[in-house]
Amino acid sequence: MTNDRELDVWREQWSGVARLSPEFLGQVQERIKVQDRRFWLGNLLAVAGVVGMLILAVYQFSHQASRIEKGRAIGLCVLVFVAVTCRLWFTRGTWRAETQSICAFVELWHRRVLSQIRRLQISIYLAIGWLVFCAALAAANWATVRLELMAHPTAYLAIMLVMVLMLRAIWFWAMWLRRRKVAELNEVTRLLEEMETMND
C-alpha cells in the first residue's frame, strides 16, 4: 500500500481485470511447438530455394549448348547475388534495438518499415533495369535469338505470356505492399511523435 489512496484503489480494481484462463500455459506451449516447426521449415525452404536456384543455374550452364540458356543461367546467379546483397544492405541497422526499451523498439520499428519501403522501391527499379538489360541483350544478339525463336516458337510465346502475366501480378502485389507499408510508416511516425511530445 502507498500513501496515495486513489492509486491503491485503482490498483485493487485493476488486479481484478481479465483473469487468466487455466489452459493458458498449455495453449502457449502448443503454439511454441507450432512456431518451432514453422521456423525450421521456413529456414529449410529458404535455403533450399537459394541452393536449388544456384544448382539449376550451374546445371543449365554446364549442360546446355544454347547461348540463351547459358546467358539465362548466368543471369539467374547474378540476380540471386544482387537480391541477397541488396537485402543485406538495406536491412543493416535493423537487426536489433540499440537499447532494450519501448522507445528503442519503436525507433527500430520505424527503421525497419523505412528499410522495407526502400527495399521495395529498389526492387522495382532493379526489376525494370533487369527487363531493359534483357531487352538490350536480346537486341544485341538478335541473330542468335531469332534462330532460337524460330526453332521453338510456341514454347517461347508461352514463356513470354506467362512472364507478362507474372509481371502484372507482381506489380499489383508490390503496389499493394507499398500502400500497406506507407500506412504502417505513418502509424509508427505518429506513435514516435506521440511519445516525443510527452517528453516536452
Binding site: 490498483r11 481485470v17 481479465a18 483473469r19 519501448i102 523498439f105 519503436v106 506513435l191 510527452m198
Partner: protein
Amino acid sequence: MSTQPTDSFASQVTLVKEIRRELEQQFERILGEHGAAISRLAYSYEAVTGIQEELAQEIALAVWRALPHFRGECSERTFVFRIAHNRGLTHVRRRRPPQQSLDDLEETDEPVDPRPHLDEQVAQMNQRAQLASAVQSLPVAHKQMIVLMLEGLSHAEIGEVLGITENNVAVRLTRARKALKETMGVTL
C-alpha cells in the same frame, strides 16, 4: 580416437537439451508469476475478449523467444513488461481496438454473488469496469504509463521499461493520471 567427434556431438546435443529444459522451466515460472499481469496488459490493448486471449498468448510467445537473450541486466518483471508492451504496440498497429461498452465488460467479469453486500459488489464491479474501459481508451503512450503504474512498478522500473529518465517518468505519470481521470469522468 574415431569416437571423439561423435562423443563431442552427443555432449553438445545433451547440453542443448539441458539448456532448453532450463529455459522451459524458467518460462513456466515467469508465466506463473507474471501471467496475470500479461493478461491484464493484453486487456488494456484489446477490447474483444477472444482477441485478448490471443494477444496474451502472443506476448507469452514473444517472452519465450526473447528468453535466451535475457542476461539479467534488468529485473525479470521489467523484461516481461517491456516485451509485453512492444507486442501490444505491434498489435495496435495491426488493428485499432473498438471501444467496449460497459455492458460487455460486466458480462465478461465474474458473476455477482447474490448475498447481503450486493449493492456494494455491483458498485465495485462498475468502478472496475469504468477503470478498465478508461485504460483501454487512453492513447498508447498514456496507456503504457498507467498500466505500468497499476501493475506496481516503481518510477525507476517504468523508466527502464520505457527507456526514459525517472524525472521524465514523474512528469509523464502526472499527465497520464490526469488523462485517465478525465477519461473516467467522461465514461461516468
